[in-house]
């Protein structure tokens, strides 16, 4: 991974790394005609803990969705361990944003965690006791086993987040994609999640985590991707996580790309 600057993307974008848990090349995603991600490319080193930071609307969630093929990809290539996502689905665990679901839904915490096993169980087949045991073990590892039979609306925010983590853990994946797991959780949960991520790293698993708290980036992650519609910089935290790159990611200065997208938006409005 090298420090990639805007303007000379073509030269610095390497070829897709076939061994990388997640390699993205020239990825462009557009909802209707508004680009959300523009020529995004990076390779993640195996067994690393990678953070994605960027302002609101930078396309962080869309990036994860595009990787899993649930956002409309206009162009570009995504490879998981050298193969397309469709063939590698079983090696990827996904933790969506907590706010993306209705927590009033009539299911228990255990039901939610078992959802991570539905692929294994197979179409139309019922959930069996062995699956529940497996789910309980995953809940145990994030410290919510005793809440298994609670209806999910009775869980606190942190417990809900842990439920989502357990659902991803139960898949026993090699690459984890997490959308803001630290958002709106209590200190104890935040601590538990980071311990869990470090444990996964020790086991050789890779995690890509969307993160909103810039202060904790250096302590939590090895690598960081600074994203604002395009990759502003990516690489080891000590190399790229600096004032200059943050200014480029969050700063108000209009870049050429921003002007292009603004022009396109104006044109769309006038159509």
């Amino acid at each position: 991974m090298s420090n990639i600057m805007i303007g000379n993307q073509q030269e610095t974008f390497g070829k897709i790394d076939g061994h990388s848990p997640l390699a993205v090349q020239d990825l462009t995603v557009a909802y209707r005609r508004k680009p959300v991600l523009w020529d995004v490319g990076f390779n993640i080193p195996a067994g690393s803990l990678v953070g994605i930071v960027g302002p609101n609307g930078a396309g962080k969630s869309t990036l994860l969705k595009a990787v899993m093929g649930i956002a409309p990809i206009a162009s570009g290539k995504v490879q998981i361990f050298g193969k397309p996502y469709k063939k590698m689905r079983h090696r990827v665990g996904y933790v969506p944003q907590k706010e993306s679901v209705d927590w009033d839904f009539p299911v228990t915490a255990l039901d939610v965690v078992t959802m991570g096993l539905y692929n294994q169980i197979g179409w139309c087949k019922p959930v069996r006791n062995q699956h529940r045991t497996q789910a309980l073990q995953a809940m145990e590892s994030v410290g919510i086993a005793e809440l298994a039979s609670r209806q999910i609306s009775e869980l606190s925010g942190g417990q809900q987040q842990r439920t989502f983590l357990a659902r991803a853990l139960v898949q026993n994946a090699d690459l984890y994609l997490m959308d803001e797991p630290f958002a709106a959780v209590d200190a104890a949960t935040e601590n538990a999640i980071i311990q869990m991520l470090r444990k996964m790293k020790e086991d050789g698993r890779t995690s890509l985590v969307i993160h909103h708290d810039l202060q904790t980036v250096p302590t939590y992650f090895d690598h960081v991707i600074l994203l604002n519609m395009r990759v502003v910089a990516d690489g080891p935290v000590q190399d790229v996580f600096n004032e200059d790159n943050l200014q480029k990611t969050y700063g108000g200065r209009l870049t050429l790309l921003d002007e292009v997208s603004e022009a396109m938006r104006r044109r769309e409005r006038s159509l």
Binding site: K65, I70, Q151, E154, A187
Partner: protein, 494 residues
């Protein structure tokens, strides 16, 4: 003037009596009819009841998933969109000289325009910036309007007999023959089997669409299959319930079931039962009183179930929620009272413990009204937490233990906020009050380990107790009560 009213009321009575006139008034009375209905003596009645029961059951089950997928009104748009199909196929059939009353033909037309309606809604939602509710409103009214106009055209036709078509709008089981009912039962069974077979996948889809997609499930196909089940229910329900009211059979049982349970499995079963019972009740009433349309009766039966569930549902019914809120408020008051008692009788600055507290002290400490304070004292006395001697209150041994526990929890939380959350000292007490009332034992344990506090010791209040009694307390009180009632809405009693 008076006689005018009398005439009108007589007229009204006449209508009512004609409405409730039993089907075969001459040679059998109502009881006889009811007996025959209950014992299922008529083959036709038997089959019609079976058909509507099956329809109600399937609608209840399909309804659960459409409700949870937040597509409840889709059924309404679909059913309204069937009317132009019915009238068009009637028109074409009579033009081409076919049997214009043939049910399969009419339902085929209904299915085609119903599906066209769905496609139009999805197209508007996906291709324009309009929201789904707007699309639903537009399609529903346009298709229904087209259907009504065609109905007018049919009535103008010299050889058209549009008489039977109204039963599709309001529902009429009386016009159903055994074959129709068997068809309804079979089609309903099909949608029901779909939901049972794909129960696991539908649960996943309705709960978390993004995750479903990421696991490789075909979200769009599953959604379309669910919509197809809704279309089937709406189409076969046309005869029994009618296109205006079929949505009630899809929504009401599921909505009622939610008041009774927090589990999707039980919710589905309860909804199926409510649908079945409503279907049977409605068509039975309509069989006894043929002038009461079965659709309306089925919907009213559903509404009765809904009202009952809304009030008495064991999980979210109004009664249980009011009880829970009262309990929560009482527990909040209890905690405030005991903590105040404890703090006022706590030894401070080397003084001897003040075992008795006067009512005056209590009143100034917490700005309680006379009534609240008296009821607090009464309740505490009943629980043997305090004893009352004239104008002075004293904590009992039991009360002291309880008060100490509550105060400890409260102060632990205050300390936690100060040490870990950068909350300004002046705001601590108020925030602590909010969270303490919903504090779970495991969080308390967590706080203890975080603050490495010994179980037995009681940390000192981090802010001046005298300051606690000042005006800020007065202004806080209103907020606190507003908020604690909100909490009781969402949280279970701990």
């Amino acid at each position: 003037m008076n006689s005018h009213i009398q005439i009108r009321s007589e007229h009204f009575l006449e209508i009512i009596s004609s409405l409730i006139q039993p089907a075969i008034a001459q040679n059998s009375n109502t009881w006889d009819l009811l007996r025959r209905l209950i014992l299922l003596e008529d083959y036709n009645t038997r089959v019609v009841l079976l058909g509507t029961a099956m329809l109600g059951c399937a609608a209840g089950v399909v309804g659960v998933f459409t409700l949870l997928r937040k597509r409840a009104l889709m059924g309404d748009a679909i059913s309204h969109a069937t009317l132009p199909g019915i009238t068009l196929s009637f028109l074409l059939a009579s033009v081409w000289g076919w049997n214009e009353k043939s049910l399969p033909l009419l339902l085929l037309g209904a299915t085609i325009t119903g599906l066209l309606g769905v496609i139009a809604i999805l197209a508007i939602r996906n291709l324009t910036k309009l929201k789904e509710d707007t699309a639903l409103g537009v399609i529903l009214s346009v298709f229904f309007g087209a259907g009504i106009s065609l109905l007018g055209v049919i009535q103008q036709m010299p050889r058209g007999h549009a008489a039977g078509l109204e039963s599709f709008i309001f529902g009429k089981t009386a016009s159903m023959v055994a074959n129709d009912a068997i068809f309804i039962a079979a089609a309903s069974f099909l949608s029901l089997s779909f939901c049972i077979l794909f129960f696991k996948e539908l649960r996943l889809l309705c709960f978390d669409e993004g995750f479903t997609g990421s696991r490789g499930y075909p979200v769009l196909t599953l959604d379309l299959l669910l919509m197809t089940a809704v279309v089937i229910i709406s189409i076969v329900g046309l005869q029994a319930v009618g296109l205006i009211m079929i949505v009630a059979l899809l929504v009401t049982p599921a909505a009622s079931a939610r008041f009774w349970t927090d589990s999707l499995g039980s919710m589905t079963c309860i909804s199926a039962c409510i649908g079945t019972v409503s279907g049977i009740t409605g068509s039975a009433i309509s069989a006894i009183y043929p002038k009461l349309p079965s659709g309306a009766m089925i919907v009213l039966a559903c509404a009765a179930c809904f009202a009952t569930s809304l009030a008495t549902g064991t999980r979210r019914g109004l009664v249980i929620r009011t009880v829970r809120r009262r309990r929560m408020n009482q527990s909040v008051e209890k905690q405030h009272f005991l903590r105040t008692m404890f703090e006022l009788s706590e030894p401070r600055n080397g003084s001897t413990p003040n075992s008795e507290v006067s009512i005056n002290q209590l009143t100034t400490a917490r700005s309680w009204t006379e009534r609240t304070l008296q009821s607090n004292i009464r309740r505490a006395t009943k629980n043997e937490w305090v004893t009352r001697i004239g104008q002075r209150i004293k904590l009992t041994k039991k009360g002291r233990i309880e008060a100490e526990r509550l105060t400890r929890e409260h102060r632990l939380w205050e300390l936690f906020l100060i040490h870990h959350a950068d909350v300004a000292l002046s705001r601590v007490d108020r925030e602590a009050d909010h969270i303490e009332h919903v504090l779970e034992p495991e969080i308390v344990a967590e706080l203890e380990s975080l603050l490495s506090e010994d179980q037995r010791t009681l940390p000192e209040s981090p802010h001046d107790l005298a300051h606690h009694n000042l005006a800020s307390e007065l202004t806080d009180r209103f907020d606190r009560h507003g908020d604690s009632s909100q909490i009781s809405d969402q949280e279970e009693p701990v």
